[in-house]
Amino acid sequence: MNTMNLVVLTTYIGYFLLIIGVIGAIFGPMTNDPLKRLLNIEVPSMGVALIFLAYNETLALMTYIAVNSVLMLVFVRAIIKNEELEA
């Protein structure tokens, strides 16, 4: 029963991070700057990782973390390129 409580708690923390993070990424402060919006988007992705953890999907969690680190490079490249061209 105790481990069940832990699983439910992890899932609820995941929900909380997802909803708060999405609201923060959409309406939050300083979202006009793309880089700050990208940093805000990391919060709901942490929530997704917690939900994978609660559902015991190890492979999905590992792949998500690895893919996220590659995606960060791609987005940062697009943002830098855009800034360079618009300046």
Binding site: Y55, A60, T63, V70, L73, F75, R77
Partner: protein, 231 residues
Amino acid sequence: MNIVSYLFNKTVIVGFIIGILSLYAISRQKSDLHMLLLSDLVECAMLVVIAAVGTDLAEALILPGLVVGMAELLAVSEVLVLRNEIKYKKKSNEKSKLLEEFIAKETPPNINIKFGKMEVLYSSPKFVAFILVVYGALLTGFTGGAVMASGLLFYLLSLGATGNGISLNRLKNIWESISGFSGIMWAFWILFGFIGFFLYPQKYLYFLLIAGCALALKVGSKLGLIGNILK
């Protein structure tokens, strides 16, 4: 009551809330770059809704979804950058390479540091990349390939940042050989792995191992090529 069925409704509702919110935000957005960033949020919603099923099937659906989503975002960001380049075409004549921004430009004039001589910049990227590649080889499959590729990417990007780039000719050789290797591994995965399952079902374990290792090497080498495009 089963924990998965207890949490199913809640997870699906949360997923739909996120999806609707982020789609609404995309519809109100005018800048393309912001749309690209927000479409990452829609992918989060998709993953949560699939994960709510909580079985092995859900996991098997998530893995290709992740890889395809990454490839999609990479392609769309390339298209956006290219379009902006055409739009603001003023004086930039030279063609830009993928991931060129991560190469260090010239060192600032006031500071007298030789980055190429710092020991930590030499040894630590090798160490981290080695750990990631070995761990990816142990994992096998899509996951192992992705972990391995992030190790390779990290090593190649840090190689560019310390200024030890590779010459163009050698780069072409490496590129060709890695993509050939990846093709051979694809053949291993499909031919020996999958067809072996049907021809010799009694020995499925060997074919499973061949398919898993070949898939890991294929994904790892293909994704590692992204980092190889820089000089």
